[in-house]
């Protein structure tokens, strides 16, 4: 076990998970003294009928003063201010955020304004500007991947001034994350695969980083075990409710692991491919994950070897000699991606080359790779990566992930 000289670990969010997770919301709110929650969501989630599921589950036990779905995909400062006014006008006393990262960020922003009785979100930017608990906030994640229901950051876009505002505080954490498989039951197979591989990347990367600790590791291992055990069967049988619950739980636990131990180059490059070529985040994670391990292998062989157990199970560990386990873990992820590719009829891509947009054109043209490498260099996620990376290194990894070939070990600069 690796115990760093100093570490911190915190997850203050109550995790309420189960097939009846949504039904627990009224009693969660009552316990916090609330009875009139605003439901906040986005149009996509609402159109998918998920808010109806939530409403039905809440039953007649709760008055819902309003359901608001005007949340743009990357949040918006004006929307936050407008919805805070709605919250006050309708006499709400809590927020139930049903959706992904943007809905939750918006909910956090609204919650700051209504709790601090402020009209100006700018007063609270940065780290540590909040000094006391906010009003009740319950997160209901609708994708099993991002883990944003357990992160203490909110990013709100100020479109008028073309900037993003960052808020960091433990007080931003939701009081509870309600993990209910009904929220992910209708995700199509390739999205189920991509979002689960995002969670996989969170847990795998967190255990390889310099900033890991015994508690983040333990959460990450549980998450990996659940994903490797259930993902294939959920894709083959999308109505597998127990499997869906396991994947959603894993996503939350992976979120806890990485928000305490950080992520590294897989996310740095992934963010870049996302912003340059608009490839969905989970797809980037699945493609890049084996490369992130390969690149760090000489610096983190023991840590990567330890992944074999949660990924491949005890038989694989017993039958693989100690010095081969790290490579076996990397191979396992490649094979897992291949299997996901097969059972999603090729929609789960294993290399950037194969990604096609709606019009059939390549999503990641080869001539974009230098721009991707250059953008990745400015990403904060590289800070905790075990091995350093310069432009050449980023380009080498991105090119290999584009072709779908393993890294050439002789080209990795061992610093």
């Amino acid at each position: 076990m690796y115990i760093p000289d100093y570490f911190e670990f915190c997850c203050r969010v109550k995790i309420v998970a189960g097939h009846d997770g949504l039904e627990q919301i009224p009693s969660l709110l009552t316990a916090m003294g609330s009875s009139a929650p605003m439901i906040l969501t986005d149009k996509g989630v609402r159109a998918a009928g998920l808010v109806d599921v939530v409403e039905t589950a809440l039953g007649g036990n709760l008055t819902i003063p309003t359901i608001e779905d005007d949340v743009p995909p990357d949040s918006d400062l004006n929307v936050v201010h407008r919805l805070a006014d709605v919250y006050r006008e309708k006499g709400c006393d809590a927020i139930i955020a049903v959706g992904g990262g943007s809905v939750l960020d918006t909910a956090k922003g609204i919650n700051i304004l209504v709790s601090e009785d402020s009209d100006n979100l700018m007063e609270f930017t940065g780290a540590g500007a909040l000094k006391r608990p906010l009003r009740p906030l319950i997160a209901v994640p609708t994708t099993a991947g991002t883990g944003s229901e357990v992160t203490l950051v909110a990013v709100i876009a100020d479109h008028a001034n073309n900037r993003k505002m960052l808020f960091t505080s433990y007080f931003l954490l939701p009081d509870a994350a309600v993990v209910d498989p009904r929220m992910t039951l209708t995700l199509p197979p390739h999205i189920t695969a991509a979002t689960a591989m995002d969670a996989m990347a969170h847990s795998v990367e967190s255990t390889v980083m310099m900033s890991k600790n015994p508690l983040s590791d333990a959460h990450a291992r549980e998450a990996m075990t659940l994903i490797s055990k259930h993902l294939v069967s959920v894709i083959k049988n999308p109505s597998d409710k127990d499997g869906r619950l396991a994947l959603a739980t894993a996503a939350t636990m992976a979120g806890i692991a990485f928000s305490n131990a950080m992520v590294g180059m897989v996310h740095a490059i992934g963010h870049s491919v996302g912003s340059v070529c608009h490839v969905p985040h989970g797809t980037c994670m699945a493609i890049l994950l084996p490369y992130g391990l390969e690149y760090n292998l000489h610096k983190a062989e023991d840590r990567i070897a330890d992944l074999l157990l949660p990924l491949a199970g005890p038989e694989a560990v017993v039958s693989t000699p100690a010095d081969k386990r790290a490579q076996a873990a990397i191979d396992w992820i490649r094979e897992f991606n291949k299997e996901l590719n097969q059972i999603t009829s090729g929609r789960h891509a294993t290399r950037f080359k194969d990604l096609k947009g709606h019009d059939g054109t390549p999503m990641v043209p080869k001539d974009k790779l230098p721009e991707i490498a250059a953008t990745a260099m400015g990403d904060g996620a590289i800070f905790y990566n075990p091995e350093d990376m310069d432009y050449e290194d980023f380009l080498m990894v991105t090119e290999a992930a584009w072709e779908g070939v393993p890294l050439d070990p002789t080209r990795i600069k061992k610093g």
């Binding site: 076990m1 115990i3 760093p4 000289d5 100093y6 570490f7 911190e8 670990f9 915190c10 997850c11 203050r12 969010v13 109550k14 995790i15 309420v16 998970a17 189960g18 097939h19 009846d20 997770g21 627990q24 316990a31 916090m32 003294g33 540590g128 000094k131 006391r132 608990p133 505080s169 433990y170 015994p214 508690l215 590791d217 333990a218 959460h219 291992r221 549980e222 998450a223 659940l226 127990d242 619950l245 396991a246 739980t249 894993a250 636990m253 806890i256 330890d306 157990l309 005890p314 038989e315 560990v317 017993v318 100690a322």
Partner: protein, 406 residues
């Protein structure tokens, strides 16, 4: 995993070198400006608050240093309730009068529990200590351990004047484990804490279908198992200097384990080793809680675990050993490893520690009666009587459970 679960640990853990130095920043993030320091007698005597004052030197915050809390501990103590109540009254008055806005508890569980009770009073008013539901965050509370303890200081509960309070908001906002604050524990205390954490962690990890609880438990077993094996291995070390140095290392790791153990004892899940262990060790008084819990552990696992506890072998004995044991043998080997620790301890202490409840002085008949006891049924959350009987009788003679009931 189960089809539904919930988990909450509101306490932030920070551990390691210079952990104290982060505390002013953490407290200011909670809106605190003037914390009151409550410490137990040992900490007060050794002036551990001086380390705190140093860490707060440039913070702009003023620390108030309270007198030592009256001994013995609050939880479970039958003695001196009036001293405890008086202390709370005095500190409540001081806290209000001087305008304190947070509590830093330094010491073992006595200090932590006193701080929890005081925090109820200063946040909700002194009448709240007569009994109330705590449904919202209390004022900031920091816990700084000075050693190991098997009364879980970080648990989300406290007993004051025989009134039990349970609420996630009772748990400290942060546990700060800084080696500079530790006061050496004797070997028996370290052993007891290691056994306590091992048994608790093994039970939760093996038997709980609650993934976050399983994660905390896995870390708990790992943190406890290595120092425990080393303590047994070097029990006869006669070089005092070497021994003290080793003990300091074990203590550092076991304090982390002890802090984490509190996160699992919030009363939201039945813990048989703990519930039965308290009952049994409390009655005999001769054998420590951690010892009794570990004596119970193999029978608890075998009765309820079926094949679920193979994964314990890794945190118990490390990857090198784990990877040489065929998967089908891993559950049996895990239990053998636990029995091996008990046997090893028995050998190095010249037979002074028990391997079975019989060796701890219990008769089979008394244990059978205990399994049927109404009180036990209550505290083990209605665990079936035949399950309890199976556990207790097998733990009595140390015989393996061949037909699991769970």
């Amino acid at each position: 995993m189960t089809t539904h679960f919930s988990f909450l640990c509101r306490t932030k853990t920070s551990a390691g070198t210079n952990a104290l130095e982060h505390l002013p920043f953490e407290l200011s993030g909670m809106g605190a400006k003037k914390p009151m320091v409550i410490q137990d007698a040992a900490s007060r005597k050794l002036k551990r608050h001086k380390c705190l004052i140093r860490a707060f030197k440039d913070s702009g915050m003023t620390l108030g240093i309270a007198p030592a809390v009256p001994e013995p501990a609050l939880s479970g103590s039958k003695k001196k309730p009036e001293a405890t109540a008086q202390f709370i009254r005095d500190m409540y008055a001081t806290y209000r009068e001087k305008g304190y806005d947070a509590i830093i508890a330094v010491g073992k569980a006595a200090a932590a529990d006193m701080a929890k009770a005081l925090n109820i009073a200063v946040t909700l008013g002194p009448d709240a200590l007569k009994g109330t539901d705590i449904t919202a965050p209390l004022n900031p509370l920091i816990y700084i351990p000075t050693g190991v303890d098997t009364v879980t200081a970080t648990a989300a509960s406290v007993t004051f004047n025989r009134k039990a309070f349970t609420s996630p908001y009772l748990a400290p906002d942060q546990a700060v484990i800084d080696p500079a604050m530790l006061i050496p524990d004797d070997r028996d205390s370290l052993l007891d804490a290691a056994l306590f954490c091992l048994a608790l962690g093994c039970e939760v990890h093996a038997l709980s279908g609650n993934p976050p609880a399983r994660a905390y438990a896995a870390a708990l077993v790992e943190l406890a198992a290595v120092p425990l094996a080393q303590m047994i291995g070097s029990y006869s070390e006669s070089n005092l200097k070497l021994r003290k140095k080793a003990e300091a290392g074990w203590q550092k790791q076991l304090v982390q384990a002890a802090v984490i153990s509190g996160y699992l004892t919030d009363g939201s899940r039945p813990l048989l080793t703990l519930a039965l262990g308290r009952e049994i060790s409390g009655d005999s008084g001769r054998v420590s809680l951690g010892m009794i819990m570990t004596v119970l552990l193999p029978a608890v696992l075998e009765t309820l675990g079926r094949d679920r506890f193979g994964s314990l072998l890794l945190p118990l004995s490390g990857m090198e050993r784990f990877s040489t044991v065929p998967v089908s043998q891993q559950p049996v080997t895990a239990v053998q490893t636990i029995r091996g620790l008990l046997n090893g301890l028995h050998a190095v202490t010249g037979g002074h520690t028990p391997r079975t409840l019989a060796e701890a002085g219990w008769q089979r008949d008394a244990l059978t009666a205990l399994a049927a006891d109404e009180n036990i049924q209550n505290i083990t959350r209605d665990t079936a009587q035949d399950v309890l009987k199976c556990i207790l009788t097998h733990a009595c003679d140390g015989s393996p459970v061949t037909a699991p009931l769970g």
